[in-house]
Symmetry: C2
Subunit: 394 residues, 2 copies
């Protein structure tokens, strides 16, 4: 809101743009500043603070956990450089998208000079991107951009409106007679339809891969995987509730059954190629579980299946899942062109994913296994999408 | 990220949803909780804090300004209710969308139990909505919802890709032969194409007004009004830069000239009714100034003109504006069906807006003047949109 006063001064006095800029910059410091050598400098202005620290996944040394359970988060100390500016410069970082928060005298807070935040379930984190490597794919580049549409559809089955995000590639509107293949991209149990758009960087990854000629132009559909919810927290009739307080996970086949409505909606509203060869489905964690079941349940529907750190839900005792083993046998008989599995070696689901691979081995189903480092984290899912998307529809 | 560990436990142990919920809720408190009587209860958990305060526009008593210039911000003290939870309950509040931040031992921070944030220029604020009044329009209701499309267009004039947000009303996709009127809705000098979507609540206001039969179904186009920018901060090739450091305001007619390209794009990409009777333009602050000039520059193009707390830029000496007085005379001769002006009595632009009304009086141009309380704030612009939209295309 500060700007309003500033704009008042600027307009009233007829100030030029650089004078406005000086007025706006009440804190004339940059943070987080990604330097050319892939080090990152953080700055925080405070005359009175006694300690300023940074909690972040970039910090390799996780000395202590200030925010109650962040995975892979370390804590580093900033140093007061003059009477008011605290500074920390990281070592050279691997090209990646990172998250962080400041901890000022023990209070977790955001960086007032870096208003870039994603919400992941109930937690907000600031993020920055270090380039010169794979994370260049996660940046907005000077390439043709697709459209992101925030759609609503009515579900006859659930009798509610439900939201989904749809990415259509550059050229979709300009080529009204062209039809496109579709990737259904499913989120995890703490997520919603916005998660692949936010931390997942789906629009940037697809824009860039398509512009580089590495991926086919495709439609990417990101539905909300919780059939009890209308939309992401804050975007439904439930209002601005605390995400913790929702019953988020169904696990009884409701989403898998409802998925037929999502496909029907997409194939009637978008110019899709409606055959197995032009349909892909992938998801992370719970969405990987959904991918596993949906790709069996809808027979001969998907030629491309991607399980990203998938929750295989083999212990699920819901009656809905009782014929799943038979359905997998049938799926293998019918044929799947690409069965792609990604998992981090430190992922708590690693063994369960390996068990699934043994089942596939027995059935003679070929698959690609992408073993990565780290655990159940967005870093891996962005990597998986970046590697999976180029393999589709070729 | 915390959820990731939690999900691990939950999946591994086969916990049910309510057990998951308890795990997720490491802080089992709600904040900000809007109570049925329109009071609002804030809660913050800290055993070690010495003072916890709330800075917010709901606090009528602006004792002190903790964050360096927030307009209309007051500061209230929270009280420790047991050994760790600080609580404050507000008086009954007028129905409105409010912003707030916590101040913990002097450190401005966000509410860890309320992950709902808008970015306004370089500042993030949490928000909540008090209903039972006009702000019901700002909530997602159980009505048919329109689509928000995040589009990119290429500008031949500026030789860059530029972003715009386009709202199409419910039924747009289902009625492929129907054409719609268009409202161009412009942001202020600190804003971007996302501002009317965020603090402006445009999608909710239009969904609700249309569902109530109070507004005609219309397309709403929200372009980026800074011709030097490709897109909102963080969504362009400029990366995650500090918004303060950009030269944001042109003031030389570039945006007004470029606007022809925006209209051309919209009218070729969407099913618009391309005549004066079905085109409206409105904007706030700088966008009100743009509305003022664009509605003159493009002769006989707009039958509906809305100046919301408009920056009239009468002192602008750019050669582009030299014939503006003559153009206004012509605009009046040609006729404008609705000339709507809104301004708050405490707005720093109030006198300048009144001066413009005197000019209109001299020319014999009728107008509606909506004088509201308060100053140059989003509260007023949401009210103006809520009152302006129902008057269009009738």
């Amino acid at each position: 809101m500060k700007k309003l006063i500033v704009v008042a001064f600027a307009l009233a006095a007829g100030l030029n743009a650089s004078a406005q800029q000086a007025l706006f910059a009440s804190q004339d410091i940059k943070s987080a500043e990604v330097n050319k050598d892939n080090t990152v400098t953080f700055r925080f202005q405070s005359k009175t603070a006694k300690t300023v620290q940074i909690a972040g996944d970039f910090a390799k040394v996780a000395e202590k956990n200030p925010v109650g359970g962040m995975v892979g988060t370390g804590l580093v100390n900033m140093k007061k450089e003059n009477d008011s500016v605290w500074v920390y410069t990281s070592p050279k970082l691997e090209s990646e998208l990172y998250s962080y928060m400041f901890v000022v005298d023990g209070v977790v807070t955001h960086d007032p000079n870096h208003p870039y935040i994603f919400r992941d379930f109930g937690t907000l984190s600031e993020y920055f991107i270090v380039g010169n490597g794979r994370a260049e794919l996660y940046m907005v580049k000077d390439v043709a951009h697709g459209t992101l549409s925030r759609r609503w559809m009515y579900s006859d089955m659930l009798q509610i409106d439900r939201r989904l995000n749809v990415y259509t590639p550059a050229g979709y509107e300009a080529n009204p007679n062209k039809k496109y293949p579709v990737l259904y991209l499913l989120h995890g149990s703490g997520g919603d339809e916005n998660e692949w758009v936010g931390f997942g960087r789906t629009c940037q990854i697809l824009d860039n891969l398509i512009a580089q000629g590495k991926a086919e132009p495709m439609i990417v559909v990101m539905p909300n995987g919780h059939p009890g919810l209308h939309a992401a927290p804050g975007e439904s009739t439930w209002g601005l509730y605390k995400p913790f307080h929702t019953k988020v996970y169904s696990g009884d086949g409701t989403f898998e059954t409802h998925f037929a409505e999502i496909m029907k909606f997409v194939e009637s509203e978008y110019r899709t190629i409606n055959d197995k060869q032009h349909r892909a489905i992938a998801g992370l964690s719970m969405g990987g579980g959904h991918t596993n079941t949906i790709s069996r349940l809808y027979r001969n529907t998907f030629d491309y299946v991607g399980l990203f750190s998938a929750g295989m839900m083999r212990s699920n005792r819901s009656p809905f899942y009782k014929d799943m083993d038979k359905m997998l046998e049938q799926q293998v008989k019918d044929g799947v062109k690409l069965y792609w599995i990604g998992c981090g070696t430190e992922d708590f689901l690693y063994n369960s994913v390996k068990d699934h691979m043994k089942v596939l081995d027995k059935l003679g189903q070929k698959y690609t296994f992408r073993e990565s480092s780290d655990g159940h984290v967005w870093k891996n899912w962005r990597i998986y999408l970046s590697e999976f998307a180029p393999l589709l529809f070729k």
